[in-house]
């Protein structure tokens, strides 16, 4: 309180800073929480250092792509329950294409996998728009289709991955303290999202998500925007599938827990499930926090059955704190 009055008296620059801080309060809170968690981890496990950060970033990579994929759809007012299945399908598609193939062909396989992801996403989106069946039903149904298709591609874990793909997220950039996996994630997400966000189509995602009718009356193409959001979701899911390829070196046809994790991460990351609000950076930090909670529970030797409960409780607590903060702010 006293800080606020002091700064606003002095210069408009600090007021701008304050406004930016307030607007990104949730993001800032997440950063502080992540820093606190890292400190706590260091206290629990004094040897936790660069190697730990590196494995954290690598563990977060597929989940972060899943979270980003989910976030785009939710921002545009939908939800995609087929993220995990799309990751499994793109993962096995990439693995079977790269099996016993040269390193150069790996590039082709990666491009084809990304295209496959976009195609799966467009299918989701078009069905949602055309049938007018709720997003949750369409994507749940298609999640079984994609999971079944994954088993048709590979009926058991197998296939391969190009060595360069496996090496991409390993190690650090310049220093071991900056994990390549994190840089890779930010570059991939940034390359798609940053150019889009300031454009008409990027703004349309938020507009459709926050108020469909208002967006429609303002001339925003609803159907096209919805399909775009699902296509982006498919693209990021394919990146997640490729991240699984890079981590495991093979394809696994059974979907991992990524759909649920993606929803958890975006909620913690500050994306409103009602649509129209939130960003992608918060989701990525949320994934790191959730991973770190799991690591700490392992370090502490907490009974695994309780650990799952604790993870859930932490999620609920954080979201409730967030809701209280949001409610307090509204009257002012």
């Amino acid at each position: 309180m006293s800080v606020a009055t002091a700064t606003s008296d002095r210069a408009p620059i600090s007021a701008t800073v304050l406004r930016v801080l307030r607007r990104n309060a949730w993001l800032l809170g997440l950063v502080v929480l992540l820093a606190a968690m890292l400190l706590l981890t260091r206290i629990i496990q004094p040897t936790y250092g660069a190697a730990g950060i590196d494995s954290l970033a690598r563990a977060a990579l597929p989940i972060a792509f899943a979270a980003v994929a989910q976030a785009v759809v939710v921002i545009a007012g939908g939800i995609d329950l087929s993220v995990g299945s799309m990751m499994a399908l793109t993962n096995v598609a990439a693995a079977s294409m790269m099996h016993r193939q040269g390193e150069e062909f790996g590039v082709v396989a990666v491009v084809l996998t990304l295209i496959l992801g976009i195609a799966l996403g467009i299918t989701n989106g078009v069905l949602v728009v055309v049938t007018r069946v709720p997003d949750i039903v369409v994507t749940l149904a298609l999640s079984f289709v994609w999971a079944g298709a994954a088993l048709l591609v590979l009926n058991t874990p197998g296939g391969g991955a190009a060595q360069w793909l496996k090496d991409l997220p390993v190690g650090g950039v310049f220093t071991e303290w900056v994990p390549s996996a994190m840089v890779l994630l930010l570059v991939c997400v940034g390359a798609v999202w940053l150019p889009l966000r300031r454009r008409r189509s990027g703004l349309a995602l938020y507009a459709v998500g926050s108020d469909r009718l208002a967006a429609f009356r303002s001339g925003v193409p609803i159907a096209r925007t919805k399909v775009l959001s699902y296509a982006l979701c498919g693209l990021f899911s394919a990146m997640g599938g490729l991240a699984l390829s890079a981590a495991t070196g093979i394809g696994t046809p059974t979907p991992g827990p990524y759909t649920l994790l993606s929803v958890a991460a975006i909620v913690l990351g500050g994306v409103s499930l009602a649509g129209g609000r939130g960003g992608l950076l918060g989701c990525i930090i949320a994934v790191l926090i959730l991973r770190l909670v799991r690591t700490d529970l392992t370090f502490l030797g907490v009974d695994p059955n309780y650990a799952t409960v604790i993870e859930g409780l932490i999620m609920v607590a954080v979201v409730m704190v967030g809701a209280v903060v949001a409610l307090r702010r509204k009257p002012a």
């Binding site: 190697a51 874990p157 991240a243 070196g249 696994t252 827990p257 370090f299």
Partner: protein, 347 residues
């Protein structure tokens, strides 16, 4: 306001310092081992027994000061991050039930390069620096199927209830099952389903199958067994020969249900505890075989030898979903009470 905040902060600081000091001291006091374990399926009787046998053996050995268990439902990428956590926790050995034979190779190599002993249990990994203590899953599929086909006189339709689609334990068992089928050309499949090793799912599938009216002469199950017998009894369906695992509930049925002919194929979950012993022997510098494979036995309630094995093994004290192979001679030293108590060092 300021004062109290400072007091809270200093209190926190003291707590932090106390924790930071206490942990390393505890580790140094006992000159014994810190062992890690990783498993990717919760709520399954076989896996729970495996975890309990790891805990019981770590305690019983007296050589383990700390056991860190990463036991949760996750996929290959999740297990890789669990293994990385165990490496970062500073363990000297890791017992891992691998989610797939190939997916973990890089992180296992990383562990063994750092001098950590890695023992895979239940399923092999293709990384050559790891040790293996496992049940032979292909043989498991083969011997049970062969018994069933023999029992049916080489003619008939079998309902084939597999495990989880896309897992290598299931595909290995399938390889064995198909090998036996090739030897008995008169055998056909009345149906084929994946139970996912899930009791509820298996129950639904057998009930749907019975309702469909498709004729069948025998059932082969991949471990969801007592549920299937229960369904046959409840529906008043003919008690055809059933093959299952050595799960306590199924073995009890083989011993007690009138008119039920069947065989239990052994698949002990105590390979986990045996893996701990294997790791401790390697750490002690002993010569240890790289691979120990347990050949499954068939306990068949239609022969005197099989009946004797069933009578000897049947034990109502053990949870119905746990396999009866709670110990492995020469490899586990804990008692039955200790594995049922499921307590590790420091618990």
């Amino acid at each position: 306001m300021n004062h109290s905040a400072r007091r809270v902060l200093s209190g926190f600081g003291v707590a932090v310092m106390a924790t930071a000091l206490a942990l390393p001291v505890a580790a140094q006091d006992s000159a014994t081992y810190h062992i890690g374990a990783s498993n990717t399926l919760q709520g399954n009787g076989w896996r729970e027994e495996m975890i309990c046998s790891i805990k019981a053996q770590a305690l019983s050995s007296g050589q383990v000061s700390q056991l860190t268990v990463a036991h949760r439902n996750t996929d290959a990428a999740g297990q890789i991050s669990d293994l990385n956590d165990l490496i970062n926790a500073g363990v000297q050995a890791i017992i891992v039930n691998p989610v797939s034979p190939d997916a973990l190779n890089d992180v296992i190599k990383q562990a063994t390069d750092a001098g950590i002993v890695v023992v895979a249990v239940d399923l092999a990994v293709t990384e050559p620096s790891a040790y293996l203590f496992s049940n032979n899953q292909e043989e498991y599929g083969y011997v049970g199927a062969k018994w069933l086909f023999e029992k049916l006189g080489g003619e008939g339709a079998v309902f084939y209830m597999r495990g989880a689609a896309g897992t290598s334990a299931d595909t290995d068992r399938d390889t064995g099952f198909r090998r036996a089928m090739a030897e008995y050309p008169g055998i056909t499949l009345a149906g084929e389903v994946f139970t996912g090793w899930d009791i509820a799912q298996g129950a639904q599938q057998i009930n749907e199958f019975l309702a469909s009216g498709v004729p069948f002469d025998g059932i082969w199950t991949s471990g969801i067994d007592s549920t299937i017998v229960d369904a046959l009894v409840t529906a008043g369906a003919p008690l055809v020969p059933v093959v299952g695992a050595d799960n306590a509930g199924f073995v009890e049925q083989l011993a007690t249900i009138e008119g039920l002919e069947g065989a239990a194929v052994t698949n002990p979950g105590s390979v986990g505890g045996a893996g701990v012993t294997m790791a401790l022997r390697v750490l002690a510098g002993e010569e240890v075989e790289r691979q120990v494979l347990i050949t499954p036995e068939v306990w068949d309630n239609t022969t005197p030898e099989g009946q004797a094995a069933i009578a000897a093994a049947n034990d109502p004290a053990i949870d119905g979903t746990w396999p009866l192979g709670i110990s492995i001679p020469d490899w586990t030293t804990y008692t039955k009470d200790e594995i049922i108590a499921c307590a590790g060092p420091g618990e």
